[in-house]
Structures are given as structure tokens and as C-alpha cells.
């Protein structure tokens, strides 16, 4: 699909549509939607901003490419003066005191936020069922999950309720729902986009990621949101990607894939066949293919979850109802903390906090937490070695197709294992894009650290190849 942003921009310039009309149309679709994608609508502020854009156009003033474009925000981002619930009871009335850097950059470019979107509570889940707002329903089939944790965001883009949405990806939370709903979703290189104002889940892998319907739109959004930010000291300065350069893929000579992802009992047979067919089509275009060795899926999933749980146990320790949050008073401060946290966190969030405190405890930290850190380093070294031999690594997004609503909550261990193909790239902090092609849940394109441009180039190549 061509750029939706450029198409709407042109329609606004040509006065085929008004910005107010566009925003009203999207708000109306969101209000009546039956996919459970909405936590709150930003109707008042959106219509106010739209009126300003219309006035500018009427007065013949120039407008920027993103000016007047409606977008959605996963409800784990801060947007000053609006609620940021993290789809949780704990923060159901919490109002953002400030605005996240990535969101502020979009606002500065003139994009209009219209909705805070449903997701797994604090990003804890792979299905968007762990939420107080009701399970997000898949854009293609209502009986299936929307994926997670940025499920509401991916469904909104797939259904054209938003032109693009901004999600958060810690272990696959942008890429997997993008695959489940057949849209593009990018996890950039860790540090390329500031995390300031994104509620912290696992700080060492948390990334801000755009979800959209075209590679070009992903590129536009990545350029706007990237950059060094003093409020997030893990950020780095990056060069703008020229979207005209995306059609040149001549520097992609070799594509690798992980043998053990494909030669695996857990993979859906159709996903396997479709993936291998895609590989053959790429080969037919004169690109060399290399099968690579990698860590077993259970090691990847266990390493990721051990570290993510340890980090989330620390990050969420501030949520005790003292300064903010849904406080429940008890006989003293300690009891108030305990009852507030026990009553307001979901079962999945509690499971992760408890797991995190287990591995950080004396006696467990050496054999589990520190060992996981060592495995993570070995995974990164493996990637460094691989990217000396290949330009791109291609993989399926998920081993399975989207489960029915209700299944993941019954079997959390199976849900963790369904993240097998996404978590490794998070641990490696690599740029990885879901493209809605190749298999039923798409393909993941990964390049070496800081090489987000190559990922987009290859996605553009696949668009014309598969």
C-alpha cells in the first residue's frame, strides 16, 4: 500500500476533505467500534487542533506533512492532561503530568492524537486480554485475539480507525500484533527513539515503535521521532533516512534465517511452508540465502522473561498508592502498600513482579538472573558474528497463528513461548520490522544495530517481490 500520510496530506491541500471532517469521521469509527480498542477518546483536543489546521489551509498557509493526520497512542504513553491508565486498575484515574518525547515530536509536527489505545496492562501480555477495558478483538476475525501488548494500536491501524499508531515494544509488543492484524510495525534500534514518557516495563529492551500501513509511513514516523534526548540517556543521534533511497536495495547481498526457528515442532506447518516459499522467491531475485545457527527458542524466551520480570519488579515498585495510583488505605503504610498492590495489579502483572523478585533474591540471582545476563551477552555476540556474514536476517513473526480469545489467559506458559521469534531481537537491541507478507502473521526483517534504514529498504524490496 502507498503512503496513507502523503495521500491524506494531498487531500487536505487539495481541499477534497477538511481536517475537522477527517477527525470527526475517525472519532465516530472509534466510538462505535466493537474491537475494544479504545481506552479514552481525545475528542475535545483533537477537534480544536483540527480547526486550527483548517484555518491555516483556508488562509493559504503551508502545512507540514504530518499536520492534521490523526493518530492513536498506546495507553502507556504520557500525554499531558489526559489519562494514562496502562489498562490497569492501579492507574485508571491517573492523569499524565507531562508529554512523552516521541509523542511531543509528533505533536510539534502537527499530527493530531485522537485516542489512547487498549493494550495489555503495563505491557504484560501477548494478546491484549490482560486489560480492564475488555479483550481487544482481532481486526480480521473477532474471535481471535488482537495480539499484544500493543493490540489496540495494531487493530486501529488495520481497521483504518487511525492513520498510524504509536506502540511500545519490549519483547515483540509492536511486531506481534502488527503480524496478527497484517500491518507494518517497527521496533527500532534500542535508543534511537527516546523512552521518556513511556511507562517503564523492562528498561533495557523498551522501545517506542510506529505501526502503519506502508513502509513509507513507517519511515516518515521514524524520522520524526528519532534523536538524542537528554531525558533518556540511552538515546543516540541518528541520521535521517531519505525515503527516496528506500528503493535502492543493491547493498543487500545475503539474507540469513535461523534453521532452528523453522526446523521446529512448535511452528505451524503452514507458516513453515509459506516462510520457505518466501525464501525461495528472494533467492530467485539473485540474493544469497544462508541458514544460521541460533539459540533454542526455550532459552530465548526464558532469558528474556527472566530479565524482563526482574526489571518490571523494580520499575513497578513505585506503584504503591502513595504519591499516585488507586490507593486503598489500611492500618499502616506497609499494609496500605500491600493491599493497594494486591487489589490493583492483574494476575499476570503480579506473576511477573513476583517472578522478578524471586530471581533478584539472594540465592537465586547467581544461578538465574546473572546467568541470564551472561546468556544475553552471548546472544548479542552471536548477532554480531551473524551480521558479518549476512546483511539481513529474516524470520517468521510468530510460530503460531492468533489464538482464540480466552486461551492465553488459561495458559500463561504457552503465551510466553509464543514470543519465541520476537524476544531474541529485543535482547540484541536490533532494528526489526514486521511486514504483513509471506506468512499469515507476516515476516520479521532484522539488520545490525543502528541499521534501521536497511530494514526499511528490504521491506520495500519484499513489497515488490512476494
Amino acid at each position: 500500500m502507498a503512503s496513507q500520510i502523503r495521500k491524506i496530506h494531498q487531500q487536505l491541500l487539495d481541499k477534497e476533505i477538511s481536517c475537522t471532517g477527517l477527525i470527526q469521521e475517525k472519532l465516530s469509527l472509534l466510538k462505535t467500534n466493537s474491537n475494544n480498542t479504545v481506552n479514552s477518546l481525545l475528542e475535545h483536543v483533537a477537534l480544536e487542533l483540527a480547526a486550527k489546521v483548517d484555518t491555516k489551509i483556508k488562509n493559504g498557509e503551508a502545512i507540514g506533512l504530518l499536520e492534521g493526520i490523526p493518530f492513536g497512542i498506546k495507553d502507556v504513553f504520557m500525554l499531558q492532561g489526559t489519562t494514562a491508565t496502562a489498562s490497569s486498575n492501579m492507574l485508571k484515574n491517573y492523569k499524565s503530568a507531562y508529554t512523552a518525547t516521541a509523542i511531543q515530536k509528533l505533536l510539534d509536527a502537527g499530527a493530531i492524537p485522537i485516542v489512547k489505545e487498549n493494550c495489555d496492562s503495563f505491557g504484560h501480555g501477548s494478546s491484549s486480554e490482560n486489560t480492564i477495558f475488555g479483550a481487544v478483538k482481532n481486526a480480521i476475525n473477532h474471535n481471535l485475539v488482537g495480539g499484544g501488548s500493543s493490540g489496540g494500536s495494531a487493530v486501529n491501524v488495520a481497521k483504518d480507525y487511525t492513520v498510524f499508531s504509536i506502540g511500545g515494544d519490549t519483547g515483540g509488543s509492536v511486531r506481534q500484533p502488527a503480524g496478527y492484524n497484517r500491518v507494518y510495525g517497527l521496533k527500532p534500534t534500542y535508543g534511537r527513539i527516546s523512552r521518556y514518557g513511556l511507562m517503564a516495563y523492562a528498561s533495557s529492551t523498551d522501545c517506542v515503535g510506529p505501526i502503519a500501513k506502508s513502509v513509507e509511513d513507517i519511515c516518515i514516523l521514524l524520522n520524526v521521532m528519532s534523536g538524542k534526548d537528554v531525558k533518556d540517556q540511552t538515546t543516540y543521534a541518528s541520521a535521517e533516512i531519505n525515503d527516496a533511497s528506500l528503493s535502492n536495495h543493491s547493498n543487500i547481498k545475503t539474507v540469513g534465517y535461523f534453521k532452528n526457528f523453522i526446523e521446529n515442532e512448535a511452528i505451524d506447518p503452514k507458516i513453515k511452508t509459506d516462510f520457505l516459499t518466501a525464501i525461495e522467491k528472494i533467492k530467485a531475485q539473485g540474493i544469497a540465502i544462508k541458514a544460521l545457527d541460533f539459540f533454542n527458542s526455550d532459552i530465548l524466551v526464558s532469558t528474556y522473561y527472566t530479565l524482563a520480570m526482574a526489571e518490571t519488579a523494580s520499575n513497578l515498585s513505585r506503584l504503591d498508592g502513595s504519591n499516585y495510583g488507586n490507593r486503598i488505605d489500611d492500618k499502616n503504610l506497609k499494609e496500605s502498600y500491600a493491599i493497594t498492590r494486591s487489589e490493583n495489579f492483574s494476575e499476570e502483572t503480579k506473576r511477573r513482579i513476583i517472578g522478578g523478585n524471586q530471581v533478584l533474591s539472594q540465592g537465586f540471582s547467581d544461578e538465574i538472573y546473572l546467568k541470564s545476563l551472561a546468556i544475553r551477552d552471548a546472544i548479542s555476540e552471536n548477532f554480531e558474528k551473524d551480521f558479518k556474514e549476512v546483511d539481513i536476517i529474516l524470520s517468521p513473526v510468530t510460530p503460531i497463528t492468533p489464538p482464540n480469545i480466552g486461551e492465553s489467559l488459561k495458559n500463561p506458559h504457552a503465551m510466553y513461548l509464543s514470543d519465541a521469534y520476537t524476544v531474541g531481537f529485543s535482547l540484541g537491541q536490533l532494528p526489526t520490522l514486521t511486514t504483513p507478507q509471506g506468512t499469515e502473521t507476516g515476516l520479521q526483517i532484522t539488520a545490525a544495530k543502528n541499521n534501521d534504514e536497511l530494514v526499511l529498504k528490504f521491506a520495500n524490496f519484499l513489497k515488490n517481490t512476494l
Binding site: Y94, Y324, A374
Partner: protein
């Protein structure tokens, strides 16, 4: 601290118990053979260079930000945050 703290105390969650689903993940790590045990946090950290630290300055919050922070107080009296009775052990 010599006192043994159980996971429910560490987590401030009443009746917290380790779960089977999570323990299965930890078992995999216990049995794993890392290829290089000495690489812990040496090559792949995201720490900031000492030359690149941000200035140590206090930035005043805007009045709107202050007002929103106060609006989020679970309990408020005369513009102040009210906390539960503090205990000492």
C-alpha cells in the same frame, strides 16, 4: 539485613507465591550452558559515557505540571499529599 524476606514481602503483594508457569522458565536457565560465562555485562551494556552526562541542573516544572501532579494525589488536604501512618520496625 539478616532477616529472611519472603517473596510476598519483597513484592508487597499479599499471599504472593511463585507460579508454576514462571518456574518453568527459570528451570531452563538453571540447566542452560552459556557459551561464555565471563562475558557478563562487559560488551553489551547501554551505559552512558562520563563525557556525555546531562547537566546537573534543577528544571522547574510548569504550573500545569504541578497542578496535574497534585490532581493525582490519592488523598489531598490543603494542597498537601496525605500518607498513611508510618510504622517503624
Amino acid at each position: 539485613m539478616s532477616k529472611i524476606m519472603t517473596v510476598d514481602v519483597l513484592s508487597s503483594i499479599k499471599g504472593a507465591q511463585p507460579s508454576e508457569a514462571v518456574n518453568k522458565l527459570f528451570e531452563v536457565i538453571k540447566n542452560a550452558q552459556p557459551t561464555n560465562n565471563n562475558s557478563f555485562n562487559i560488551n553489551h551494556n547501554s551505559s552512558v559515557s562520563l563525557n556525555d552526562l546531562r547537566d546537573d541542573v534543577v528544571i522547574e516544572s510548569s504550573s500545569l505540571e504541578k497542578q496535574l501532579i497534585m490532581e493525582n494525589f490519592p488523598k489531598e488536604k490543603n494542597g498537601y499529599l496525605v500518607v498513611s501512618k508510618v510504622i517503624e520496625e
